[in-house]
């Protein structure tokens, strides 16, 4: 369960002054469901998800992840979360197994549990063929599988994906999509950000549309179609975002 309450993040830039990356964002993601955060580049998706994963601290507001406050109990939040993005790379000089073991240990797993968990995950993701190969020698697909194994090793109840398919070829992207779906089927709370409409249509139970750091609309795909009288998600997105986009460009 994720519950964001008035999340805001402001940065200070020497040239541009104060930048409002995220402004008063509130939403709720439930277990066994996928929440899709849809927005253009620079809309505030990554900042929002980084705050939920406690990598960044909110300037105002807070969020609760599995009941833990992201401001007050960041370490407990991180222990409940699996975070995957294109920016979460692997350590090139560790092997796939060492990489996953490292994160398992940091999550407090004891050695017998860790071994069993790794064996299970490596078998499930068909990773046994390259478990002892260094990460800098892995193909993109193998790297993604290792990243997935890294997020799964402590079996977190909440999964956060920040544009997980960005820049991936179609086959690797499909592996990720299948994995996100599997997380939902296992009853995990899933939130993921993207600007790819088809991914949202295929996956999301709830959609939040974000622009200039503000959550402009929220609902299921059906609810959004009804409300904006459009069938195509791209048209709905453009309808919602355009006035704010023009405003942001002008300012």
């Amino acid at each position: 369960m994720i519950e964001a309450r008035g999340l805001s993040k402001r940065f200070h830039d020497k040239k541009r002054g104060e930048i409002r990356a995220v402004e008063n964002v509130s939403f709720c993601c439930e277990p066994g469901k996928i929440y899709g955060l849809l927005g253009a580049n620079g809309a505030g998706k990554t900042t929002t998800l980084r705050m939920l994963a406690t990598i960044l601290e909110p300037t105002d507001g807070t969020a609760f992840v599995c009941g833990y406050d992201i401001v007050e109990q960041p370490e407990k939040v991180r222990a409940s979360v699996g975070f995957l993005s294109t920016a979460t790379a692997l350590y090139p000089r560790l092997t796939a197994q060492e990489m996953v073991e490292y994160f398992g240990r940091l999550n407090g797993l004891d050695e017998p549990t860790l071994k069993k968990r790794i064996d299970d995950i490596f078998k499930r993701l068909d990773m046994d063929g390259f478990r002892d190969r260094r990460c800098d020698k892995l193909s993109t697909g193998m790297k993604q599988k290792t990243s997935i194994a890294r997020t799964l090793v402590h079996d977190p109840p909440v999964m956060i994906f920040d544009e997980p398919t960005l820049g991936l070829d179609i086959m690797t992207a499909r592996t990720i999509i299948a994995f996100i779906r599997e997380c939902r089927d296992r009853g995990k709370t899933v939130i993921f950000s993207t600007h790819v409409m088809s991914e949202v249509e295929k996956l999301c139970d709830m959609i939040g549309i974000i622009q200039s750091g503000e959550l402009l609309a929220e609902g299921s795909l059906l609810q959004l179609r009804d409300k904006y009288a459009e069938r195509d998600l791209e048209e709905i997105f453009v309808k919602i975002v355009t006035p704010h986009y023009a405003q942001a460009e002008a300012s």
Binding site: H12, R50, A53, I55, L56, E57, E75, K76, R78, A79, V81, F83, S85, A87, T88, A89, L90, Y91, P92, R93, L94, E98, Y102, F103, R105, L106, N107, G108, R134, R150
Partner: protein, 404 residues
Amino acid sequence: MSLRNVGIVYKKELTEALRDRRTLISTILVPLFLFPVLFVGFGAMVVVFVGKAQQETPKVMILGGEDSPHILEGIKKLEKIEVVPAAPNWKNQVINKEIRAAVEIPSGFDADVAQEKSDLVKIYMYENEIKSSFAADRLEKYLKEYSDNIVKERLAAKNLANTVLKPFEIKQQNVAPPEKAGGAALGGIVGYMVILLCMTGAMYPAMDLTAGEKERGTMETILSSPISRTHLVLGKFFLVLSASLATAALSVISMGGSFWTLQHFHAFDSAQSGDAAAVQLKIGLGSVLSVFIMALPVAVLFSAALFTIALFAKTYKEAQSYLTPMTFVVVIPAIAAMLPGIELTPKLALIPILNVSLLCKDLIAGTYHWNYISLIFASTCVYAAFALFLAIKMFQRESVLFRS
């Protein structure tokens, strides 16, 4: 749990460091081979080149003296000197190293000597040019002997003893034990090398674990794990410190080995030439160990400071451009300690790097000023603790970790 996490990070960073060629070169290869190359190799090179220069028969020119056959013949008969005919461009020939020196005999020199008049004999040479110096030294030595003989003859003619002009002899005699004499000669450079290597050992891991991590995109990965940032910094810091200490330890071992080798060669050479100065290169094991102990807080200071600075960089290259000037910041006070006459004072004992470098000079010489040792150890620990505190604080700052 917390110590366990620091240990987990340390172990992982160690695994990665041992697989990184750049870290291995700066931590192990450089300290192991730098001292032998510097002391033994360079020392041997100097011996070879100086020996070659000494063996050469230099060409010298005699200017004037046609009316003084006595001194002229004496110079011409000198061994290991080739007298070439005088030429008007003698000065250019010295500068162009065609001849090594020229000696000018004033006109009427022999007659003046006979009449007990004083004359000036000039030797023209190329200053700081070793072969020219050797030639000039040989000429000067002969002329001094010539002058001494004339004095002796004149005294004998007047029935006076030599002691009339030389009432007593003067000789300098070393009373410092061999370790102390060796320390005075080599202490400065030992401190300088250990300090410099402590820094180079810390430099690459410090960059790799901060800017390198940002560049490879693994910073966000590790920040998403439950480990606290303080524990993460400590785990990384201990690895940088280990690299710095390993470099210092290996440099001390290599230094000891180099001295031992040098001492044996030197003792062998001196035994052959009858030179009693062989013992001057002796350095005690205790001195070397105490230098290493003093290097501990310095290594902590460097590790934390370099870690903090490199943390600001977004890429490895950027970190390099920040840390390279740091080498000068370290080298200048370390070199200052080698200035002749500079010694520890309470004020200098508080200046980081310079204080340890100065102390190393004393330690190598086997002199233990406990007041200074404790003051320097304590002050360096305070600086080191501050640098580590700063590193932890900077690692908490989003503007540093996610600088764009």
